[in-house]
C-alpha cells in the first residue's frame, strides 16, 4: 500500500470468533480516523472449515482484500491455519500464532497427519513469529471463548496501537455482561503481544 496503512489477515477455524475480533479491530481503527475495509466470508466455511478475514486500513483503501506477500500482520487462531495462509505474510511481516490445535476431519479419521514441530518450522520461515498462549490465557480467565479477544490484544500491540482508546470500542461491541472478562482478555493479550 502506498499510504501509511497496513494489512492484517486473521485466519482460523469456523466458530473461533475471528469475525468478532476483526470487527473490534476495524471499529477501533475507524475511531482512530483511518479509512478501513474488512472482508469476511460467511456461510458453509463457518461449520468448522478454514476461515479468513482481511482487514486493511490507511488514508484511503480501495480493494477490501490483500494478496500473497502483502500481510503486515498474519494472526492464526489455530496453529495449522498459520501454515495454510503463510504465503500471505509479507517479507518483514509479523506472524502471530495461537498455540492451539484443532484437528480437521482427515486427521481425526487417520487419513492425514497433523504437522509436527510446527512452531519451529513456522519460526524458520517467518523470523518475526510470536507464539501466543491465548487458549491457556482464556481458560485461566474462566471462559475459553475469549481467546479471540486475547489474540486481538496481541495484534493491537504488534500494530503499535496499544495506547489508543480500545475500551470504548469494546464497550460498543461487546454485551454488558461480557464486558469485564473481555477487557481482561484484551489486556492479557496486550501483555502477550
Amino acid at each position: 500500500m502506498n499510504n501509511n496503512g497496513k494489512n492484517v489477515l486473521l485466519v482460523g477455524v469456523g466458530g473461533q470468533g475471528t469475525i468478532l475480533a476483526s470487527k473490534l479491530l476495524s471499529e477501533g481503527l475507524l475511531a482512530l480516523g483511518y479509512d478501513v475495509k474488512m472482508s469476511e466470508i460467511h456461510g458453509m466455511a463457518q461449520r468448522g472449515g478454514s476461515v479468513s478475514t482481511h482487514v486493511r486500513y490507511g488514508a484511503k483503501v480501495y480493494s477490501p482484500v490483500m494478496g500473497t506477500g502483502e500481510a503486515d500482520v498474519l494472526v492464526a487462531f489455530e496453529k495449522m491455519e498459520a501454515l495454510r495462509w503463510l504465503s500471505y505474510l509479507s517479507s518483514d511481516g509479523v506472524l502471530i500464532v495461537n498455540n492451539h490445535e484443532i484437528y480437521p476431519m482427515p486427521v481425526i479419521l487417520g487419513q492425514a497427519v497433523y504437522p509436527q514441530v510446527l512452531e519451529k518450522k513456522l519460526a524458520e520461515a517467518a523470523p518475526r513469529m510470536l507464539l501466543v498462549e491465548a487458549a491457556k490465557a482464556a481458560a485461566e480467565l474462566g471462559n475459553p471463548k475469549v481467546m479471540n479477544v486475547v489474540l486481538l490484544g496481541a495484534v493491537v500491540k504488534s500494530l503499535g496501537l496499544a495506547d489508543a482508546e480500545w475500551s470504548t470500542t469494546l464497550r460498543a461491541c461487546v454485551p454488558p455482561h461480557a464486558l469485564e472478562i473481555n477487557e481482561r482478555a484484551f489486556r492479557k493479550g496486550l501483555n502477550l503481544g
Binding site: 502506498n2 477455524v13 469456523g14 470487527k23 476495524s26 475507524l30 478501513v36 475495509k37 474488512m38 472482508s39 469476511e40 466470508i41 460467511h42 456461510g43 458453509m44 466455511a45 463457518q46 461449520r47 468448522g48 472449515g49 478454514s50 480501495y62 480493494s63 477490501p64 482484500v65 494478496g67 500473497t68 506477500g69 502483502e70 500481510a71 495449522m80 491455519e81 501454515l83 495454510r84 503463510l86 504465503s87 500471505y88 505474510l89 509479507s90 517479507s91 511481516g93 484437528y103 480437521p104 476431519m105 482427515p106 486427521v107 481425526i108 479419521l109 487417520g110 487419513q111 492425514a112 497427519v113 497433523y114 504437522p115 518450522k121 513456522l122 524458520e124 520461515a125 517467518a126 475459553p144
Partner: protein, 589 residues
C-alpha cells in the same frame, strides 16, 4: 453518522432511508443479512417468505398497491423467482420496486457461479452495481427513484465481497413517503396476451430512455491517469483495478451497468490507447463493448472463473509478478467444513450410511456435509427441492434398469417448505416407491438460524402458526403407516425407520425431530451435558471416530472427547461396542 457497515447492512439502511414499506426474502448466502437488518427497522413490514418466488410476488403486490417495496435473494434464488421477475418488467411499478440480487463469484457458499447480470439484459430492466457499502446505501435510495420515474423494477446486483465487506458509510435519516393511490388498471397490471403485447413496446422504449438517462447519470465517473491504459469497470472489479493500477491507468467507473451508456463508453475509449474491461466471471460488459465495434482486452487475459483480485489484475494488465510470502514446504491437511458436534442430522445419516444399498439424492443445507467422509451419505446436489423430485425419476430409472437399490431423498425443514412439498405431492400421485427424508431441525440452519414456517415465529419476532410436518405429509397423501417420526439421537429407532421405509412398496417419509444444536435455547439447556471415555475400557477400535464428530479425536493413543464442544447427544455412547463411553452432566429445562 459515520459507521462501518457491511454491504448488506448498508442496503438495509438504504431501503429504510428511502422510505421502503414492505420487504421480503428467503435466506441465502451472501444475501441473508439484508432482510435480517431490514427487520430491525419497525417502519418496514418484513418477512421471510417461503421461497424466493413468493418473496418477489409479495413485494410485487405491495408495489402495485403503491408501497415502496424490495426483496433480496442469492443468485440461484433469482432462478426460482425468474417467472414473476420477467413479467414484472412488463407491468412496472406503482410504488418503487427494487430486487436485490447477490451473486457469489468464487462459490464460497453456492452450487454454481452464475453471473446474474444477464438477467437485467434478458428481462430488459435497469441494473445498478455498487462498489462499496456507501454506494450500497446511496444506490438503494436511487434505485427506488429510478423505479418510480421510469415505471420499472430495478435490479440492484451485488457480490459476496460487497455483501460481506465492511467499509465506512455516512448514514442519513428516513424520508417518509405515503403509500401511493391505487386505481384498478388491468391494462397495466393484468398481463393477458393482449395487454402484454402492448406492454412489450413500452418496455423497449423504456430501455432507450434508461440508456439516455445513464449517459449523464451520477452513476458514471471518470478518473484521468495514464492515456496508455484505460479501464472500464464496475462493482468490486473497479475497487480491485483501482487498487492495482492507481494512476497508471484512466478509469471509467460504471454504477449503472444496464442499459450501458454507449456514448460515454465510446468517448472514453477514444481517449485511451489500450482499453481494458475488468469484470468478474462473464464477458457481460466486454461483449457489449465489442458489439459496439470497439477493440478491447479482457477475458483474453483475465479469468472467467473465480473472483478477481488486485494481484490478478496487475499481472494481466501490467505484467507484474504477484508478491510471494514465506514457505515452509509443508502442505497442511485440508480442513473441510463439517457437521457440528451434537448435530441432529448425524444420527439418521449414520443409520443410512450403514445401509450400503441405498442411493441418496441430496439437497441444499447442512446435511449436504453428510456426503463427505466418513458418512458419505448423499450423491447429488442440484438445487432446493431436487433432493425430493430427483428421487422420483431416479427410482423409476432404477426400476427400468432392473436395479434393486432403493432411492432416498434428504432435505431439511426449510427446504421442504421452500420447494419439497410439490415434489412429495408428485411422488405420491405418481406412485413413487422412493423414501423422502425430512431432517427437521426446527430452523433454517446453514444460513445462520432463520425462522421458517415450522418455527412458530416470524422474522419480525411475532408468534405465529408452526406447521406440523408429519401432518403436512399426510395431507400430501402419504399413508400414515409410511410416515416414520424418529428421534435422530436414538440410533436404534433411526435404523428401524430406515429399514421399514426401505421395505415399503409405497411412498414413505421419515421425519426427524431434534432441533439444531446451535439454537441458543438448546445450547443453554445442554450446556453441561458431555460424554467421557473410560480409558480402561476403551480398546481404540475407532467406532466412535467413524461418526465424524469434531468433538471426538484420537490424541497420543487415547480417544478424547472435547467437553466444551460435546452436547451429550450420545451417538458415540450408542456405537461403542465396549460401553466405554458415558454421559455426564444434566439437562437444564
Amino acid at each position: 453518522m459515520r459507521e462501518l457497515l457491511t454491504g448488506n447492512e448498508a442496503i438495509a439502511r438504504g431501503a429504510w432511508e428511502a422510505g421502503c414499506h414492505v420487504a421480503a426474502a428467503y435466506p441465502g448466502t451472501p444475501s441473508t443479512e439484508i432482510l435480517e437488518n431490514v427487520s430491525r427497522y419497525k417502519e418496514i413490514y418484513s418477512e421471510w417468505s417461503t421461497n424466493e418466488k413468493v418473496s418477489l410476488e409479495v413485494v410485487s403486490g405491495a408495489s402495485m398497491a403503491g408501497a415502496r417495496a424490495m426483496c433480496a435473494m442469492k443468485h440461484v434464488g433469482l432462478n426460482v423467482a425468474a417467472d414473476p421477475f420477467f413479467t414484472m418488467s412488463y407491468i412496472g411499478v406503482n410504488g418503487g420496486l427494487v430486487i436485490v440480487d447477490a451473486d457469489d463469484p468464487g462459490l464460497f457458499s453456492s452450487q454454481n457461479e452464475q453471473d446474474n447480470r444477464w438477467y437485467a439484459l434478458h428481462a430488459k430492466l435497469p441494473m445498478l452495481e455498487p462498489s462499496d457499502s456507501q454506494e450500497c446505501l446511496d444506490f438503494m435510495k436511487a434505485a427506488f427513484d429510478i423505479s418510480e420515474r421510469f415505471d420499472t423494477p430495478v435490479l440492484l446486483r451485488v457480490t459476496t465481497r460487497i455483501c460481506h465487506s465492511k467499509s465506512v458509510v455516512e448514514t442519513g435519516e428516513r424520508v417518509e413517503r405515503p403509500v401511493r393511490e391505487y386505481t384498478r388498471n388491468p391494462a397495466k397490471n393484468a398481463m393477458l396476451p393482449v395487454f402484454a403485447k402492448a406492454k412489450h413496446y413500452i418496455v423497449e422504449k423504456r430501455l432507450l430512455e434508461l440508456r439516455e438517462f445513464n449517459e449523464t447519470s451520477p452513476f458514471i465517473s471518470t478518473e484521468e491517469g495514464s492515456g496508455e491504459i484505460g479501464v472500464i469497470a464496475s462493482g468490486i472489479g473497479w475497487q480491485h483495478a483501482r487498487e492495482a493500477l492507481g494512476d497508471r491507468a484512466s478509469f471509467l467507473k460504471l454504477g449503472m451497468t444496464w442499459p450501458l451508456p454507449e456514448k460515454a463508453i465510446r468517448d472514453f475509449a477514444s481517449k485511451v490507447e489500450n482499453l481494458w474491461i475488468v469484470e468478474e466471471n462473464d464477458t457481460f460488459i466486454e461483449g457489449a463493448v465489442r458489439g459496439m465495434g470497439i477493440a478491447c482486452s479482457g477475458k483474453d487475459a483475465l479469468p472467467l472463473v473465480d473472483e478477481l483480485s488486485p494481484a490478478l489484475i496487475a499481472k494481466a494488465i501490467l505484467g507484474t509478478k504477484p508478491a510471494s510470502g514465506p514457505d515452509t514446504g509443508i502442505t497442511p491437511p485440508n480442513r473441510p467444513p463439517l457437521l457440528c458436534a451434537g448435530c441432529p442430522h448425524r444420527g439418521l445419516l449414520f443409520a443410512m450410511s450403514k445401509k450400503k444399498e441405498l442411493v441418496v439424492m441430496g439437497d441444499i443445507g447442512c446435511y449436504g456435509l453428510g456426503s463427505m467422509p466418513p458418512l458419505n451419505v448423499g450423491e447429488s446436489t442440484v438445487c432446493m427441492g431436487a433432493g425430493f423430485s430427483a428421487v422420483i425419476g431416479f427410482q423409476k430409472a432404477q426400476e427400468k434398469a432392473g436395479r434393486s437399490q432403493k432411492v432416498f431423498g434428504i432435505l431439511g425443514d426449510s427446504t421442504f417448505f421452500h420447494s419439497g412439498i410439490t415434489g412429495l405431492v408428485d411422488a405420491v400421485v405418481n406412485k413413487s416407491r422412493g423414501v423422502f427424508v425430512i431432517l427437521d431441525n426446527r430452523i433454517t440452519a446453514m444460513t445462520g438460524q432463520q425462522e421458517n414456517p415450522g418455527t412458530g415465529r416470524t422474522l419480525m419476532g411475532e408468534e405465529t402458526a408452526a406447521l406440523d410436518i408429519p401432518r403436512l405429509c399426510a395431507a400430501c397423501g402419504v399413508k400414515e403407516n409410511h410416515i416414520h417420526v424418529v428421534d435422530p439421537y436414538d440410533l436404534k429407532a433411526s435404523r428401524e425407520a430406515v429399514d421399514a421405509a426401505y421395505a415399503a412398496e409405497e411412498t414413505s417419509v421419515i421425519v426427524t425431530t431434534r432441533p439444531c444444536a446451535l439454537i441458543k435455547e438448546i445450547q443453554k439447556a445442554r450446556d453441561s451435558l458431555h460424554c467421557v471415555v473410560d480409558a480402561e475400557k476403551c480398546v481404540l477400535c475407532s467406532s466412535c471416530l467413524k461418526l465424524g464428530c469434531p468433538a471426538i479425536t484420537k490424541q497420543e493413543g487415547r480417544i478424547l472427547i472435547d467437553s466444551v464442544a460435546c452436547n451429550g447427544c450420545t451417538l458415540c455412547v450408542q456405537v461403542c461396542p465396549k460401553q466405554a463411553i458415558s454421559r455426564e452432566g444434566a439437562l437444564h429445562e
